[in-house]
């Protein structure tokens, strides 16, 4: 990205050009450069996990499989899940986009602890590398949930140990990011920026950070215990030594269910930003959206048992967990209705970020509602471990989170790079991603209801049509993603159009007070707080020059 040279009136050049050389990137403490590095690695993990997914879908073209051996299939779906969950979906939005955007939106020069931020990046990178190493030492076939006793059997190779260390390191990275975000939002705001002047993306990241700080350490200790159990035979998780494998499930889901909200809350934050800017209307129900983020974070800690309805936990625990699970639907629905109300009578501008957000509404709606089927005891029992579950969580993790991630990348791309992506390619990608996604996963709901179990390398012939449609869909989805990536990267070349400071007419500080791309210190003068959804103070000059503050000149 060193090709980008764009001052936009900021003295001393942008953060991309203020220092040069590989060293100035690898040892940087600038949150923007760290965010860009995160984005690069995270897209790499998305590609890796995606290649695994395509191999899985190709294998499932025929009921008897055939592309790979059954053992290899088990390893493929394990690494697909582990890479996508731990390396892409969980850190994707907070670490890449959050790192870049949060200090800008909060009007600060950097996050509270810049060096800790860099440490967090390298911990994440080390975790990612370790997952690659498991591939070299023979892979892992336990499923991404790593349940003992199967995962910790004595005959198992090095793969599980390396994967557990990888999970531990990636988790630590997530904790440090959370600490940084909360401290920054609390302490580095301009004196006149109140809590309810924060853009909703920041409320979402704040709620996310609470979960990162309080849930991730439990994953860390679980990984450490698993590691020790495998080496020293502690008798904590392994029944042959007097341990309790269900305890592992409790520990694992105490983190991994809240982790779903680590994924979805920042995605919802992006939606709140984009839907308001591209409807040219202040967000509807600001405080409800802000508070519902916190409500989801809190309730999210109390629902982990719904992953364990058939694990043998007590019937009363099942009933209580089922009830608490239903409660999550309330703050989620509050958000959706407020977004729709924001669009109502708005001037809706169908640029790429907004197209992705509209897909989000449709897909998150289905993903959220099918979650109720699985949260309800009576329907969960027959649907447990079928493709219905697979389809449900892909609707949430891919359909909602990845699509919001794409919305966010397109939305902040001009700010990150100083270039406008190609709107035509962006539109095509958004449409293909939407169609491909639904083509891939709607059939999986049907095969799941029909009783097709997940994680099997072969299936009954009656599910052939659903599986073939799903495989075709996966390639359409891939085509959409490739076009999106090409459209973004092509804008960095010679033909890429330079981005004005404020191409979308957004009012939050990263657009209204910082250049595109921002200078090394973000702002030339310390900004004052603004009302982030008051668009009446902005005036459009032209498509090329973007929007300016009505009172004065471009920032």
């Amino acid at each position: 990205m060193s090709a980008v040279e764009h001052g936009a009136g900021a003295g001393g050049g942008s953060y991309l050009t203020s220092e040069r050389g590989l060293r100035s990137w690898l040892l940087t403490v600038d949150h923007k450069r760290i965010g860009v590095m995160y984005l690069g690695v995270i897209v790499g993990t998305l590609i890796l996990g995606g290649v695994f997914a395509l191999a899985l879908r190709l294998h499932l073209w025929n009921p008897a499989g055939g592309l790979v051996s059954n053992d290899t299939y088990n390893k493929l779906f394990t690494l697909h899940g582990a890479v996508m969950v731990f390396l892409f979906v969980i850190p994707g939005i907070p670490s890449a986009l959050g790192n870049f955007v949060l200090p800008l939106q909060v009007g600060a020069k950097d996050v509270a602890f810049p060096r800790v931020n860099l440490l967090s990046f390298y911990l994440y990178l080390a975790g990612a590398v370790l997952f690659l190493v498991t591939l070299v030492v023979g892979g892992l076939d336990t499923g991404w949930t790593l349940y003992p006793p199967y995962s910790l059997e004595g005959s198992r190779g090095l793969g599980i140990l390396i994967a557990l260390v990888g999970v531990f390191l990636a988790g630590f990275s997530s904790i440090l990011t959370g600490v940084n975000f909360i401290a920054t939002i609390h302490k580095l705001r301009p004196p006149d920026m109140g809590w309810f002047d924060l853009p909703l993306f920041l409320w979402a990241l704040y709620a996310t950070a609470i979960i990162q700080i309080l849930a991730t350490p439990v994953l860390g200790i679980t990984a450490a215990l698993g590691f020790m159990e495998r080496i020293f035979h502690l008798g904590i998780f392994m029944p042959e030594y007097g341990g309790d494998p269900v305890l592992f499930q409790h520990f694992f889901w105490f983190y991994s269910h809240p982790a779903v909200y680590i994924m979805i809350l920042p995605a919802m934050g992006i939606v709140s930003e984009v839907v308001s800017v591209f409807s040219r209307k202040p967000i509807f129900g600001y405080r409800f959206i802000a508070m519902s983020s916190l409500a989801i974070a809190v309730i999210g800690f109390l629902v982990w048992g719904h992953h364990m309805f058939v694990s043998g936990q007590s019937r009363w625990a099942n009933v209580i967990f089922s009830f608490l699970t239903m409660l999550v639907a309330i703050p989620s629905a509050i958000k959706v209705f407020n977004w729709l109300a924001t669009m109502y009578k708005g001037v809706i501008i169908l640029k790429t970020p907004m197209l992705y957000v509209l897909s989000f509404f449709a897909i998150f709606g289905v993903g959220g509602l099918t979650g109720l089927f699985l949260g309800a005891l009576a329907t969960d029992i027959p649907l447990h471990d079928t493709y219905f579950v697979v389809a449900h969580f892909h609707f949430v993790m891919v359909g909602a989170v990845m699509i919001a991630f794409l919305a966010g990348v397109h939305y902040w791309w001009p700010k990150m790079t100083g270039r406008m992506y190609d709107e035509r390619l962006g539109t095509i990608s958004a449409v293909l991603v939407f169609l491909g996604f639904n083509l891939t996963f709607i059939p999986q709901f049907l095969s799941g209801i029909g009783g097709m179990p997940r994680r099997y390398a072969t299936y009954a012939a009656e599910f052939t049509t659903q599986n073939r449609v799903s495989t075709v869909g996966a390639f359409v989805l891939t085509a959409g993603l490739v076009i999106a990536l090409y459209g973004l990267l092509a804008s960095l070349g010679r033909s890429g159009r330079r981005a004005p400071a404020n191409p979308w007419g957004a009012a939050s500080l990263e657009w209204s007070a910082a250049a595109s791309p921002p200078s090394h210190h973000n702002f030339d003068t310390p900004p004052r707080g603004v009302r982030p959804y008051d668009f009446s103070v902005l005036r459009k000059v032209s498509e090329e020059a973007g929007w300016v503050n009505a009172g004065g000149e471009a920032p």
Binding site: V29, A108, K109, D110, A112, F113, P114, V116, I175, G178, V179, N180, I182, A183, H186, K187, L188, I213, L214, A215, T216, P217, V218, G220, I221, T222, L225, M228, E229, F232, H233, L234, G235, I236, Y241, G242, G243, D244, L247, F251, H521, P526
Partner: protein, 234 residues
Amino acid sequence: MNGTATTRPGSAGPSPFLAGHFRSMGEQLDTSKLGLWLFLASELLFFGGLFVAYAVYRANHPELFHYAHHFLDWRMGGLNTLVLIGSSLTAAWAVRSAQLGRQGELRLMLLATLLLASLFLVVKYFEYAHKLHHGVFWGAAYHPSEEILASLPAALRAAPVPAHLGTFFSIYFLMTGLHGIHVLVGMGLYLWLIRRAGRGHFGPGYYVPVDAVALYWHLVDMIWIFLFPLFYLI
């Protein structure tokens, strides 16, 4: 951060220790302490997993805990409790000395904290060495020597030995071991503080690291105060 601190009306003059993205030393102190508190909350949950494991196994196998705790010497644990409480006092005292700019007292208190922490680990070493010498290992490796079994109370020797006794020692070694690692990290931090204090870095205007490390140290102390009764007394 290149140290070009911005000064604003009303704030103290630029200090060499003010990072460039903070507006004042006060803001830097507040932010650092908030960050540390958040990290400590995370630490609590990290230990929390082990406390839950303790609670689950204690609830399911009370006989195991009743039998096994006779292997632990409450006098050693008690001594270590006093040592750690003493080190918390000196750690807090060091913060006060830094705030008042009493350099000699600050160095003395930091050194005292480091020495007490080392003393804790020395006692712990003797406890561990005694157990490992007599085959009191974790989990499946638990094979106690005749000698240590003979030292148990007579009533206990007559009673049947509960199954999976090693699980108790797994939890014991995990919890005290993780705590011990935290003590080691704390000792490293105090070494670092002593070096910086020797260069006169700390005073009323800048004492963030002394304060932050003391907070961490108090947490390490607090965790031990829970571990001691859970393993040695009840």
